[in-house]
Symmetry: C2
Subunit: 144 residues, 2 copies
DNA sequence: CCCTAATAGTTGAATTTGTAACTAACAAGC
DNA sequence: GCTTGTTAGTTACAAATTCAACTATTAGGG
């Protein structure tokens, strides 16, 4: 058995990342859950459409790495809430272009505000250089 | 509506953390899943017991912030695999001391090795200073 | 054209997780 | 020593996620 005393699970990167992700997501979840009855998957789909404009479910999957069934169900839920509409693409009728409704855009704008504040709050303890490094490192680890 | 063009979900910290956590956990999961048929919760419980020695389910919960039902089920599964044993504490019979069996220790030793390598691999692209900063930042975000 | 393969998206069943209610053991106040 | 409250851990049920199979549509030979 190799020497394990110097290896602590609490500094194991995947573990740390999970803890940090869990902690930060949980605190933010309150906003979209309480105010709009949305799930994390729904919030993510909404956010992608709000930020990048109309796109297909498949495109959202490529960007977010969410599984297509998750997206499919989130889209159905958002449609039911009348936050988005679907439209078949005429050139390839397998694709459905998803577009936020006015109501969807309003929710996006509201949550965007909250997200920005929360992000700033999370980053506040770090210097500008540290923030930049942290984000670069995370992007690299996420293989974005 | 506030100006949103400068706010990108892809640099929203909870989102980035989730992506990075997902990516890094997924790659590692292969080892304990494929080789030992364990779930993430089981792996974590095993790792805590391996690293810190016998303790109660409650103590694991305090350290890992896992919910007690998750731990309860993970412990039951690990017991079934004969990787740990339970023992009532005589001074307070509500507590159960969890101890890795020889088999459990062997699995821990094996996975510990893999985890260490994988951790090193994940951190390789970063300088020593960057690594330290990254871990400190994550610990802070995780409120550890 | 027709047959096969590939892609977008959906659905159902099996797993996994979260919530809340539960049992069992202890502790403290009266 | 009985009632009330608290803690460790389990379990039942509901909600969410994953996996695999499915439909519908397009693309590419032959």
């Amino acid at each position: 058995m190799a020497d394990q005393t110097d290896f602590d699970i609490r500094s194991f990167l995947p573990y740390l990342l999970n803890q940090a992700a869990e902690e930060s997501s949980l605190a933010f979840q309150h906003h979209y859950k309480q105010r709009y009855g949305m799930l994390r998957t729904e919030w993510r789909v909404l956010f992608h459409l709000g930020r990048y404009g109309a796109m297909t479910a498949n495109a959202i999957g490529a960007r977010s790495k969410m599984h297509k069934t998750k997206i499919s169900r989130a889209v159905a839920a958002l449609e039911k809430k009348r936050y988005l509409t679907r439209q078949k693409v005429e050139t390839d009728r397998r694709h459905e272009l998803l577009t936020l409704t006015r109501a969807g855009q309003a929710v996006y704008a509201d949550l965007c505000e909250v997200a920005r504040d929360y992000d700033a709050q999370l980053l506040a303890p770090f210097s500008t250089e540290e923030q930049a490094l942290l984000k670069r490192a995370l992007e690299r680890l996420a293989k974005l």
